[in-house]
């Protein structure tokens, strides 16, 4: 899910022009047959088809196709229409249009055209179902790979890539069908097991509603249309409360929708910004956001502003995405799993923030307010999940973290939606896997007398968060300015995507990503780091 309005982007997609656009537009869009409908123009062949479960797909290959195809999996699209007026997604209607390269949903053909110009084939599906759709998407991609190979029989290598939820799809594809994929790119990875992903969003929403608006349902949505209506109402309530938290950042005022416990905290002098900061900390939401670097202050408010207010402002900006995503994911997850998929009965929120609360002590207003807020959370009714539903949703987001094929991991350090801790999970998992492979190789060498060092199959590329990028308009960060580097969700440039793709393709063809120095230089030129020592905290749901 990207931060821009999906409807706008889809409209942009339909009006694109360029090398490929004319060809794609010329393809019949209503292909229902097993065989795709193809057309060739400007030496590029584009085909549109449907899978056995009616997922639309598009395949594109130039006349000088070099035998390597990149299979794209798009990120989360809501599985329900979103009423106009809801921030970020208002006016969205469920869309299953095929998406076959990063950037297309923003109307940006740069990546696509660059790949086609180099002779690569590209393909992607829109999938038969939106929302949490890993099962359907993996099935669609399996069919799509077969369809591409059939249509373009000179295909030799398949690189799977995806963004956001598309990484869960891509990673699952490589785990279940390593024989079909030669390399992968996981951009803005959502690559933690389902339970941890659900916990991230659930913890945030539960704490937010508990303090700021207990009438938000958040969990346990009804089935069908009634559940959708509850979700819509929740979205409206969430954004109303969030805007009031934002308005009260400096004064400390709480939303008038706050719970009785929240109002009692306000009466005791606990600022709403302290609660907002703590909510972000317990969930693990980054405290640097697209427009808040945490290092800057308006003139005259130096030190006090960075320490006291900036974390809360970042929490609010990032929280908008996290809260909305929580509603969408819970409603969809519950619909598919048949019950509540989040459970926090045993969660010790105080323990989760034991380290971080000291670092953000000023933003929390000190120990007394922090303890008071944690006390409220400890005493508040918890959410009891359905064991059956939770087991099922784990299967809907099923990755284990096993790396079967060379994989490039492209991660922004302060991504608020798919937090960098998901990438860290994969990195840490692979360390264990690699150590086992190395041990096996060493044991084997005792018999063969020849040691073959295993080649690393995982290449993390980080877009580290810039140091300074906040621009103030008066005493508030200007939210109209471009996002800071290494923040936001899936804001990678075309050049960054292409570098990731090139490295994965190299690994698919040669078995390794190349010399580490060359990789580092290549990455650095597009603002990425291959720093193998760099790490971020793993997601809260995966911590000890």
């Amino acid at each position: 899910m990207n931060s821009k309005n999906i409807k706008t982007r889809l409209l942009s997609l339909l009006s694109i022009s360029g090398l490929v656009a004319g060809v794609v537009v010329g393809v019949p869009s209503s292909a229902q047959a097993a065989d795709p409908q193809c057309a060739t123009a400007n030496f590029v062949t584009s085909c549109a088809g449907t899978t056995s479960d009616s997922a639309l797909y598009t395949m594109v290959a130039p006349a000088n196709f070099n035998g390597t195809v990149l299979i794209w999996s798009h990120g989360l699209r809501p599985n329900i229409d979103i009423p106009a007026g809801i921030p970020k997604f208002g006016g969205y209607t469920v869309n299953k249009a095929a998406e076959f390269a990063p950037g297309l949903s923003d109307g940006d053909l740069t990546t696509l055209n660059a790949l086609i110009a180099k002779g690569y084939g590209v393909a992607g599906s829109g999938f038969s179902r939106q929302g949490i759709n890993v099962t359907e998407a993996v099935a669609a991609n399996v069919e799509l790979i077969a369809a591409f190979k059939k249509q373009f029989p000179t295909t030799k290598k398949v690189v799977a890539w995806g963004g956001s939820l598309g990484t869960q799809i891509t990673q699952t594809l490589t785990e279940l069908h390593p024989e079909l994929v030669d390399a992968a790119v996981l951009g803005c990875p959502a690559t933690a097991p389902g339970a941890a992903m659900i916990k991230y969003f659930g913890d945030f929403m539960w704490a937010f509603k508990t303090l700021f608006d207990p009438s938000i349902k958040g969990f346990g949505y009804s089935e069908g249309a009634a559940g959708r209506a509850e979700a819509y109402l929740d979205m409206q309530k969430f954004f109303v409360a969030l805007s009031k938290v934002s308005a009260g950042t400096v004064s400390g005022a709480w939303p008038d929708t706050s719970s009785a416990a929240g109002k009692a905290l306000e009466a005791a002098g606990v600022p709403s910004r302290s609660a907002m900061t703590l909510i972000a900390l317990i969930a693990g939401v980054p405290l640097r956001s697209e427009h808040v670097d945490g290092n800057a202050s308006p003139v005259g408010l130096e030190t006090a502003f960075e320490l006291g207010y900036m974390p809360a402002i970042a929490a609010t900006e990032n929280g908008a995405t996290v809260g909305l995503a929580s509603i969408l994911l819970m409603q969809d997850g519950e619909t598919q799993a048949g019950g509540i998929v989040f459970d926090n009965k045993a969660t010790d929120y105080a323990a989760l923030v034991e380290e971080d609360r000291d670092i953000y002590s000023a933003a929390l207003g000190g120990n007394t307010p922090a303890d008071a807020i944690l006390g409220v959370l400890a005493a508040s009714p918890r959410v009891t999940g359905s064991a059956t539903a939770m087991a099922k949703v784990s299967k809907l987001l099923p990755i284990t973290g096993k790396i079967n094929v060379p994989t490039v991991l492209l991660t922004a350090e302060s991504d608020q939606f798919t937090v960098a801790g998901t990438a860290q999970f994969l990195i840490d998992s692979y360390k264990v896997q690699y150590a086992a492979v190395k041990t096996a190789a060493m044991n084997a060498s005792k018999k063969s007398r020849v040691y073959t060092a295993p080649v690393s199959k995982l290449l993390p590329l980080w877009e580290k968060t810039a140091e300074n990028y906040t621009v103030f308009s008066g005493s508030s960060p200007d939210l109209t300015k471009p996002a800071g580097r290494g923040t936001g969700h899936c804001l990678f440039t075309s050049k960054q995507w292409l570098v990731a793709a090139d490295l994965a393709i190299a690994a698919a063809n040669k078995g390794s990503f190349g010399q580490s120095g060359t990789v580092a230089t290549t990455a650095r030129k597009v603002g990425l780091s291959s720093d193998s020592k760099f790490r971020v905290p793993v997601m809260r749901g995966l911590q000890g």
Binding site: T303, M310, S361, G366, N367, P369, Y451, E467
Partner: protein, 432 residues
């Protein structure tokens, strides 16, 4: 990549020969980051500007001054010491960015004297850059007791006595000197204050009046009259101020305005007279009669051999900068660091310097009047305080004109008068 066992054997033989050759070359760098044959680069992040800077902004200059002095005398093991300082304005997020730049851009060997509990925690915590890149953080400038936990912070070395220790010493002093008085406390409501409360509780001291204040107070310009009213109403006759200098300044100013004159006891962090003076918000004479604590000799004590040498170095290498507690702190950090480098030997590595401090750091010469607690199982620095009285110029003079040093730990050990004999200042103030 395939490696044939025979090739491995050949390679081993070659490497052995190279190692043999290397062993006879003096001061050969082992390829450690920030270390060359002729130099060692350290990094520091601390406030140079911003609300918390007054006083603390002198520390990096004092470190550099001592390093310059050492370098003019040949350096350590043939290497000259340098310091790269970055200003964090006391903001943890900035401190982290600074640490990342010091490590990755400036390529420093180790970090020194990070200042403030929150900033230091952000740097040396589980996801902090010093931990991620395994960079030692030496002689941190905070008394948070947690940093002495070697298991949790394996590459972090403390210097100051912990706030727990300080509170325990204050508690003993109050019990001894002010029995039956009503006691009040103003404290910073974060880890700093929490440590203090732990110490007071351990020592069995209870307060009749407590005034916690939010830890945003590095930027506090005034203290609400309500604080003083609460202390007055509660009848507090002795008031402990366990806060930073800006809050201490504001508290004394407001109390003066409201004609409230208890016996003040100012914890060491906030009781720095030059910092209070440089704020120009109250005359330092407001401190007169207040009790204060220090683990090092008074900066006015020019008869002390350490203070005298540091004054001399400061005059030559840091000209125009007034000598005070912050200069003592900076030079002590630099002096201990130089000794650690010396003790680690010519094959200096990040591991070896930590090991050297663990092995022999407790014997390093330094001005502290309380023993240093370093060992293979402890990263605890100084372990005690002496108590004195501020004069009208802000000078802290030991009671009865002698340093009675109390020593204890951050746990349940009692507070006792120390019999510790401080090492003599080495010749010329240089590591032996």
């Amino acid at each position: 990549m395939q490696i044939n066992r025979r090739k491995l054997i050949s390679a081993s033989a070659v490497m052995a020969a190279v190692a043999l050759a290397a062993s006879v070359i003096p001061a050969q760098a082992a390829g450690e980051v920030g270390v060359t044959k002729t130099s060692i680069k350290f990094g520091m992040t601390s406030p140079k500007t911003g609300a918390a800077a007054p006083g603390y902004e002198k520390i990096p200059g004092a470190v550099k001054a001592y390093f310059d002095y050492v370098n003019d005398n040949g350096g350590i093991n043939g290497r000259k010491l340098s310091l790269v300082h970055r200003d964090d304005q006391y903001v943890p997020a900035t401190a982290v960015q600074n640490a990342i730049k010091l490590i990755n851009t400036d390529k420093v060997f180790a970090l020194l004297g990070t200042l403030g509990t929150a900033s230091t925690k952000a740097i040396v915590g589980p996801a902090g850059p010093a931990t991620v890149y395994k960079v030692p953080t030496l002689y941190v400038n905070t008394g948070f007791s947690g940093f002495a936990d070697k298991k949790k912070y394996p590459n972090t070395i403390t210097l100051l006595p912990s706030y727990v220790m300080e509170a325990k010493v204050i508690a003993k002093y109050i019990k001894d000197k002010y029995p039956n008085k009503k006691i009040g406390i103003v404290y910073q409501d974060d880890d700093f204050g929490k440590d203090a409360l732990t110490g007071f509780k351990t020592a069995g001291l209870k307060f009749d009046v407590s005034v916690p204040y939010a830890s945003l107070s590095q930027g506090v310009a005034t203290v609400p009259p309500t604080w003083i009213q609460k202390l007055k109403t509660g009848g507090a006759e002795v008031v402990v101020m366990f806060g930073v200098s800006s809050a201490t300044t504001a508290l004394l100013g407001t109390a003066y305005a409201l004609s409230y004159k208890p016996q003040w006891i100012l914890a060491s962090i906030g009781g720095d007279a030059t910092t209070i003076a440089s704020s120009k918000k109250i005359p330092v004479s407001f401190m007169a009669g207040a009790k204060g604590l220090s683990f090092a000799p008074s900066p006015n004590d020019s008869k002390d051999e350490y203070i005298a040498k540091f004054m001399e170095i400061n005059a030559k290498y840091n000209p125009g900068v007034a000598f005070d507690n912050n200069i003592v702190a900076g030079m002590t950090t630099a002096f201990l660091t130089a000794q650690a480098v010396k003790a680690a030997g010519t094959n200096l590595t990040r591991k070896s310097i930590v090991a050297a401090i663990e092995k022999s750091g407790s014997t390093f010469a330094n001005p502290a009047l309380a023993p240093l607690g370093y060992s293979t199982s402890s990263h605890v620095g100084a372990t005690g305080y002496w108590v004195g009285t501020y004069d009208a110029t802000g000078g802290l003079d030991p009671d009865d004109n002698k340093y009675t040093v109390y020593t204890t730990d951050s746990g349940s050990a009692p507070v006792v008068v120390s019999t510790y004999k401080r090492p003599a200042m080495p010749e010329k103030g240089l590591p032996k």
